[in-house]
Amino acid sequence: MVRPRNHWVVRVTHWVNFVALTILIGSGLRIFNAYPRFARRGETFCCYPWEGKRFPEELTFGGWLAGARNWHFAMMWVLVANGLVYLGFIYLHGEWRDLVPRRGFFRDALAMLKFYLFLRSDHPRQGKHNALQRGVYFILPWIGLMAVVTGIAIWKPVQLSVLTNLLGGYVWARFWHFISTVLLVALSFVHIFMVFAVDPYSLRAITTGGYNKENSPEARNARPFWNLLPRKREKVEDTNDA
């Protein structure tokens, strides 16, 4: 039996996270639409130029404000529990080593960028993930933590006023909660784009665990939309020379 590329705990938590985040973001947008601005009543807010603009109804979840809030306050526990299982597992099981920036991160990240921009012809060498992936997979849990902490601060601004005040008060905490969502959505879009444009084979790896190393982006020398198909195997007999 071949070892799966991603442990089943990682695969399950990944997809639970996907469902939980989708519902949390959809219901969060519905809640935001009830008051699509940040200023306290009778005041103005410096830092949100689109105030008064609602998100399209089709992007929201929960149907109405009460429904959205009920979903949001139920699903937040799924996100937290799932996140703790994931983080606890990758810590205890050692997976975190593939998911944190290594020494020389900026040099390696720059090399990846150069490769994607055709300023370099060969794919930089990498382990399980390239430097850009490591950066994103490392940052995502921190953004998740930001979403949870700012969320708690606007859920209990009186009983947990110490936390809310630490974040600048209710208005700012609500703004940071919104920003954490924007960051999550932005990075998720990059993530999904790269899956389909560079490494669609990882879709199998994160679902069933199966992965053929010969199809890795490094092996295919793959950039977005370049060398998407598996490489032709021509030099099979050369492998012993190395």
């Binding site: 399950v12 009830a34 306290r40 149907g63 139920a74 526990w77 009186v158 009983q159 665990g209």
Partner: protein, 237 residues
């Protein structure tokens, strides 16, 4: 591993399609209603465990009073106004599990020791406003009425087409919970709940019944206008 994989695929498939399908009618699947209510009950247990009378709401020193920018919500078709010529003099009744039922006029309330504090208003819609409420702390009225130990809930009734909301007694006895008759230094106007309303920064706006007529101390919770329609019953902040 094969079994796991198959199970996993099945799980991922069903939960994904559930999420996508329910996204279409955007309210979520009917079966989820039970789970949502379960989560609400568990959240309430946690929130009530977190609740402290020493947690006091304090708006930032520089925050402006909302004044007229404060929205005024009611459920009647027009602004509810107490009509003395038809309904007689307005009184606030305090009843239920108490030793001494009270019937207080506005003058009675005004004559009592008052609290006059700037606090935040937390609306379920996500906005906040800073307001200065003048009124009698409900815990003073409770002391006066002699509330029984078995009274675990309080229902606030109004003359706004039957609008009411019931609370847990702990929140009702929070030092910042007042029967308010003044806003920003003036008597309440009809739009904001005249002659008196309950106000507390520890509950979302919709729990703070306006156009108050009766406060009942009860052994059981009695729901409320919005909480019967799907909004959280506890709604504490």
């Amino acid at each position: 591993m094969t079994l796991d994989r198959r199970k996993f695929l099945h799980f991922a498939g069903t939960s994904l399609s559930a999420a996508i399908l329910s996204g279409c009618d955007s309210r979520g699947p009917k079966g989820a209603e039970r789970i949502l209510r379960y989560a609400e009950r568990k959240n309430e247990v946690l929130e009530r465990a977190l609740f402290r009378h020493t947690a006091i709401d304090a708006p930032p020193a520089g925050a402006k009073l909302a004044g007229n920018a404060l929205p005024s919500y009611f459920i009647s078709r027009t602004v509810p106004i107490w009509d003395e010529s038809r309904q007689g003099k307005w009184h606030l009744e305090i009843g239920g599990m108490i030793d001494r039922p009270l019937r207080l006029s506005l003058e009675d309330l005004i004559a009592m020791p008052r609290s006059h504090k700037r606090v935040n208003h937390y609306c379920v819609e996500g906005w906040t406003a800073v307001e200065q409420w003048t009124g009698v702390p409900l815990r003073d009225l409770a002391r006066l009425a002699g509330v029984h130990r078995g009274a675990r809930y309080v229902d606030f009734e109004s003359f706004d087409s039957g609008y009411h909301e019931s609370w847990d007694i702990e929140s009702a006895m929070h030092p910042q919970t007042v029967v308010a008759y003044g806003l920003d230094g003036r008597f309440l106007s009809p739009a904001y709940g005249a002659p008196a309303r309950v106000y507390s920064p520890v509950k979302l706006g919709y729990k703070n019944t306006k156009y108050l007529t009766r406060i009942m101390f009860l052994p059981n919770r009695t729901g409320g206008y919005w909480s019967d329609r799907g909004y959280e019953w506890y709604a504490g902040v």
